[in-house]
């Protein structure tokens, strides 16, 4: 399982490094991006309890 992207609405949780972390407070904009990336990368989206999203992809 590979973490591709972390998306949050809190700028304090954005730390540089791998994987890429984005601050996207706009929910509609975030849903559009998540859908597009999930479809394109054939990945799954996890929403954790604090509302942040993680895009993950199964290896193999």
């Amino acid at each position: 399982m590979e973490i591709i992207l972390y998306i949050t609405d809190c700028p304090n949780r954005v730390i540089t490094g791998h994987p890429l972390a984005l601050n996207m407070p706009n929910d509609a904009e975030r849903q559009t991006l998540l859908e597009m990336l999930a479809e394109t990368l054939e990945a799954s989206v996890i929403q954790i309890k604090n509302g942040d999203h993680i895009i993950v992809r199964r290896n193999g």
Binding site: L34, E35, V45, I46
Partner: protein
Amino acid sequence: MEVISTVIPTITLIRTLLGILMGTVARFVTIRIDSRQVPSYPIGYFINLVTGFFAASLGSVAIPALLSNDFAAVTFLMLAVQHFRDIRKQIQESLENIDPVGFAPRGSAYIDGISKTFEARNYICLLTSLGTVLVLYLIMSESIWINAAAALIAGSALIWCMIHFTKGKCIGDICTLHYGNIDVRDSELYVDGIWVTCMLGLKKRQQLFMEQGVALVATPKSENQRLTLENDGQRAAILHDAARSFGTKELWFTKRSFPDGRIVIAFVPIINDKEKIITAVRNTPILESVRKRSPGR
């Protein structure tokens, strides 16, 4: 000057041919073309029939060769064994190569089981023809019809015994299956109260799973069978058989419930035929590598 006859006596030829025929029949009856699509049809099917024919040929010439003091026949049998091992490796490599491109991976345990089965079926061919020819030589009848009848009886008995001996159990034998109640809470999926995944973060996918998803719950019949059912390789095999037959729309999960040993197989099928899906899962073979016998044995 002594002339050495190189012409094979007719009765020897008939016995050998009857052995080859019964050996090839053994391969024919052990090839199953079903939803698992291993071997594939028609090319894979043809390849297996041909290798079965050659295995049967090697088995049936061994007895006449030994009787004519040609001990090289034993070497040929050893070569056949080596060849069957190569077939196993070849099938293993081929299935591993195509594994990532399927709906859900078979997993190494299932691939190992399939390749061993293919090897074993070649041995069935070889032993059927060898046994049939041996019986014909023990009877020592010159009549073609008596030879044919004896070959049919001995060959059929050998095929039945070996199929019976190598036959494994199915998932339906060790657990009960039913469709569980799907519950999507935010991005989390629960089936009959068992947490399965939190990968439903997209509303579109939550809706897809709610509308079209199926979730099977397998409950082991005894504590001992939990060891088989909860094995990763076995769960991958179940999911693969269901997904291979009915397709998946990206989402497929398996999860085990630690307190009671139930397992969940959840996915969104392309062909949503619940009756057939449960039958496919029930008929998934129990993998030899994960099979657990009684403790202490």
